[in-house]
Symmetry: C2
């Protein structure tokens, strides 16, 4: 895929020694095993870290039974990581010592730096200097550390790490909150999704969220990342990360918080960082690579589906149920989450008739209610149903499920379609069945809403992954080559200059003429085609509507003359000594009124947006965003996302609007801002009138603002 | 509360013998213990039903070791219930036998009746006749039966009933799907919410969902109902049920499905019944009494809160956290669900400063991150914070939680505010702590989103319960007495007659005059105040806009004359021989354009609706509904529900709109349709122009349609 982005790419850091250290120095190791400075050593001794541990404590010969050293330089062997567990004031010296001792990484646990606002400003400055001087790459400060579940290298603290049942899996956890990071790991583990690496980012004085994610994506022993993100202004790096995740097919399942209200207030006070508007995060998530979830159990559910390894080829699901009620619940849950439930092909329906009793239901859902014990026969028939990319089976639990499990697995193994099975589990029971199913990539879901949500999100990712190559090819087909534009000066360009810029990129605008009142009163025919807008042109009257100096939808020559007189009267009454340049008579475009725009965001880069104008855009914020450049498919998706999209299908008896022309404008506009992002800050086309299908669009007003 | 409803109330049935039978006849009892006809006897023998069991099987002396009888009449003792486990064809005779034997209730399991569509029509007819003839009150057919968990009277089948850990609690389950009913009971049990009665409604040939719910609400041993509803046209009974639930303070926690798409299709094929539009169900749920949930775990969560018995007095919650990240997640989850997070009072903040370290955060959330082990001291300070109606505490789990539990409980017991505590539980561990907390009405939640959702729904119910009396008093204060209206004839009333009806109820409308073209051309002054709308009045031109026979926003006498000429020209061009009554010159109202309406729904009764008109109403369906009559508070809530509500605050620099006047119109309109529901079918006021605050509203068009 050709790269169309001028993103600032930081060199990726080799974090091998940090993530899998052979030897660890613990600076400030304490004998108090419940304190933060005592926990990591206790923990590693308890869980059996096989590498070497070097406690540093100037006041002791040994700590928790391990020989201690007065400082990092005194450690007789090279260390991969220093766990810095001293108080904030002592951290800079500790880092300098690590530098002296050639320890490449340090994990700093203490809080009291930039995250505390003004209070920690001075401490942060000293910390930054120490990082720079020492050359040590730092995790934190104000973090709970870094843990490798496989080697039990726990440069970290926290209750969840004491869980002896933890086993390494193909998952990495990267979190801007230590507490949430531990919870993510714990909840995922409870769901059978096992973490190998846990990284708490802290206040990111040096290494940050993106460094960790990029490195972990590149590791063979990581298949997905569970991530928690509170705040960031690094939009371009976020987008780059998402792209990378999509390319390597390893989703970053992300909980993004701090988006509004008290949450945003709390996130601000938690990390002390600014964050960009949520809109642009959402646009980033739509580029693919990220799966945005709203809670930890959803996160674990999606991870379970990813690790199951069964990727759907489309959005169609068939539901098989033994309970009519469950069929309804499951069907609704999938539809709410963007999946479709088409009916089976006639061939399949025919075969089903022989099995499902007369008063069962052969449709989607297939309700076998009265046919006990024939579910695997039904499954056998539907497993290759071409109309269905996925299957959901609602089963009775307990003994019934146990009985048909072997047959079920036999059939399930013959397909790589995702199969979801749901039953009402009794706590503590059925766990063997669940394990057996999950081993075969079958997704077990107790609740309809949860299954719907997780499968919907997983399918979104699968579809983006599937379309990745194709999208790249489509992006390579520009609708127009890069055009030269006259973008001298600064600030906003005049309307006609703005319209010229659009025209260079093939975006049409309305015609207008400027005439004197006398000239209009003498007109014998329309200067531009009716209906027209009549506006007084005066440098002294910027707000024409307030001055009663505008008439819209003027339809005949007589009315034009009356209107021209009226706007002059209105203007004179409003501003008696106003200079009058003339009267502007503009083609009144008609059609569906839309807003199309492009913004060159300083953090995320250029994007295009589209909305249906008026209250929909301004009050309901019914607007869709995508980063530039976009493909026609992207533009179609943008339109489909609008809550008011139905307006384009023909509202109040209007004919269907020229959607293809809007798509074309969005694509061209996206190339315009992409090509000229060094100069263009913002483009507004408002309104863009969309005529009936095949009749095109026309920009009635346009504004290009230079950076 | 005075009753303002002419609802059709069915006599409530005494179901004591059905729900708690002392003796049960099992018609068609089978020796095959895995078959549906064999399961109930096996089940009751296994779980130890203490009443008498009388299997009926003409081919056997005994069934499963219990003496059998050839028919119901042969049973030597009176039976409270007959469990009818024979095939569809044998059911009518079985019911007649039960009638002969004076058995008051029968539970019919077999399917094959109306729920199978055409196929079962004849069988249903015979069934209906047998019900009528026998006088037996029937549950089902096509159900899984009725179970009393306390007495183990299981006139039912289904795997979940074999769970020996089931214990009776203060909960009843009523379900239109047997499978979902069993799942509801099982999932609630797993959440520590125990069911006493389980009723599967089946196809409701006789007793139905409402009969069951009403009876169960009246029982002292039931504190709430978990219900599943697929379809119903009985809107008035549903509303009546909700009101009753609110009055007795026992919520019906309801999963309503079959609302759209494949779900609705499946529900139709499952129950074979029609159902009303979901909109009216939603309006019913807003009346209170129902708590609408979207999945079974949410259902159990809300039940847990209800049974905890701590009702919030308002919507304000304070969050205490030891993890900044969790604080953000929890805060956002509550805000998403209609709760508020105000800051603590200065007094509380002052006290907190002494406990929370300098770089903790004293706000909402309170983040004690650096202060380990002081959470109960903080809790002690905030428990009586007047700004907070509820408290959420995020805690570390395991040993930390165990340690501070006694202190926590001590503080918690001193308040009746809801307290929610969350930690990351390790599966199988912490259960004793959870039990101890829940015993004290503390709600334990692992996930932020779940807690937010459940607490939000519970708070909605609590607020409605709190406002019940007050609302009744407000409803008693009519803004206007019942007016006599001239409602002769049928169909739609003319615009001016419709406007007169509104006027009688104090709802103002625009002025208009009908003039000839000559009269207009001769005008020396405005006939109604400018701006005006100019419309050709012709019985031959119903669609004026299409005929170019309308001019809006005409602002001066000259323009009026040009416009009058133009609409005549337009009309003549469009329909050359059109009869012309004159030209209507109407006051152009201005302001925010709204739609207000009232409909007398045949199933649910009269209601009012409000929307912001145009695309918001027609495309986005941004409309709010309430049943009539409404209070000013209800009307305010309706407006607040509109997604476009911000428009009323002053959009594009407009002054804030006269919301009180809109509220007044809604209240008056609701009394109009309430008072005249015997005659009025529908009222449309479109548009209603809402002027600036204090300036009132005016109906620009109105239509009253008689029933």
């Amino acid at each position: 895929m050709p790269s169309h982005n001028n993103m600032t790419t930081r060199t990726h850091v080799d974090l091998t020694k940090l993530l899998t250290p052979s030897s660890i120095a613990i600076i400030g190791a304490s004998t108090n095993t419940t304190s933060i400075s005592g926990q990591p050593l206790r923990l590693m001794l308890e869980v059996g870290y096989a590498g070497k541990l070097f406690p540093v404590n100037p006041r002791r010969e040994e700590v928790q039974g391990v020989k201690a050293y007065p400082n990092a330089q005194a450690i007789p062997e090279p260390c991969d990581v220093a766990l810095v567990a001293v108080s904030a004031a002592q951290v800079p010296q500790a880092l300098r010592d690590c530098g002296e001792a050639d320890i490449p990484f340090a994990v700093v646990l203490a809080g009291g730096f930039a995250e505390t606002g003004k209070l920690g400003e001075a401490a942060q400055k000293e910390l930054d200097a120490a990082i720079k001087d020492s050359g040590v790459r730092v995790v934190g400060p104000n973090c709970i550390g870094v843990a490798n579940i496989a080697t039990r290298a726990f440069c970290a603290f926290g209750g969840a790490l004491y869980d002896k049942s933890l086993e390494p899996g193909p998952v990495a956890v990267v979190s801007q909150s230590g507490g949430v990071g531990l919870s993510m790991m714990a909840h995922a583990h409870a769901r059978g999704v096992d973490t190998r690496y846990l990284v708490s980012c802290g206040n990111e004085a040096d290494l940050d969220f993106f460094d960790f994610c990029h490195t972990l994506l590149a590791q063979d022993d990581v298949q997905l990342i569970l991530a928690y993100l509170e705040s960031s202004l690094e939009g371009k790096r976020l987008r780059e990360l998402g792209k990378r995740a999509l390319e390597v097919g390893k989703p970053i399942i992300l909980l993004k918080v701090g988006n509004s209200g008290a949450g945003r207030r709390a996130a601000g006070s938690h990390t002390g960082k600014l964050t960009a508007d949520y809109t642009l995060f959402k646009a980033t998530f739509k580029e693919g690579g990220f799966v945005e979830v709203t809670d930890l159990h959803e996160m674990a559910d999606v991870a379970k589906l990813v690790l199951g390894g069964r990727y759907p080829k489309g959005r169609n699901i068939g539901v098989l149920t033994g309970s009519g009620g469950w069929g309804v619940m499951v069907a609704e849950a999938y539809e709410r989450n963007g999946l479709q439930l088409p009916l089976p092909t006639p061939e399949t329906a025919e075969k089903l008739k022989a099995v499902v009793a007369e008063y069962g239901s052969i449709g989607n859902p297939i309700d076998t209610t009265p046919v006990y014990g024939k579910q695997h026969t039904v499954l056998e028939i539907i497993v290759n149903e071409p109309n269905w990319d996925m299957l959901h089976v609602r089963s009775a639990g307990g003994p019934v499920l146990k009985e048909w499990l072997p047959n079920f697995l036999n059939v399930a193994k013959r397909t790589d379609k995702p199969i979801i099975i749901g039953w009402s589990p009794v706590p503590g029971l059925d766990l063997d069945i669940k394990h057996e199913l999950e081993k075969n990539g079958i997704y077990c879901a107790s609740f309809a809403a949860e299954a719907g949500r997780a499968v919907g999100l997983f399918t979104d990712f699968a579809m983006k992954r599937k379309q990745l190559l194709e999208r790249g090819q489509k992006l390579a087909q520009r609708p127009i080559a890069k055009q030269t534009l006259d973008l001298a000066g600064s600030g906003a360009l005049a309307e006609h200059v703005s319209k010229q810029c659009l025209a260079r990129y093939g975006i049409p605008a309305t015609k207008e003429v400027l005439l004197s009142l006398a000239a209009i009163l003498a007109l014998k025919e329309a200067p531009v085609s009716f209906p027209v807008a009549v506006k007084l042109a005066s440098p002294d009257i910027p707000h024409k509507t307030e001055a009663d100096a505008v008439r819209l939808n003027v339809k005949s020559l007589d009315e034009l003359k009356a209107a021209a007189q009226a706007v002059v009267n209105g203007g004179k009454k409003h501003t008696p000594d106003a200079r009058i340049d003339g009267i502007s008579v503009q083609e009144m475009a008609s059609g569906v009124e839309m807003i199309v725009g492009a913004v060159n965001d300083p953090h995320f880069g250029p994007y295009v947006m589209v909305g249906l104008g008026g209250v929909l855009t301004e009050v309901l914020h019914d607007v869709s965003h995508r980063f530039a450049p976009v493909t026609p498919d992207d533009a179609h998706d943008m339109l489909a996302e609008l809550k008011g999209a139905k307006i384009l299908e023909g509202y109040r008896g209007a004919p269907p609007a020229d959607v293809e022309a809007v798509v074309d404008v969005l694509v061209r506009l996206s190339w315009l801002i992409h090509d000229h992002q060094d100069r263009v800050g913002e483009i507004d086309v408002n309104p863009l009138f969309v005529r009936a299908k095949g009749k095109g669009v026309v920009a009635a007003d346009a504004l290009v603002v230079l950076r």
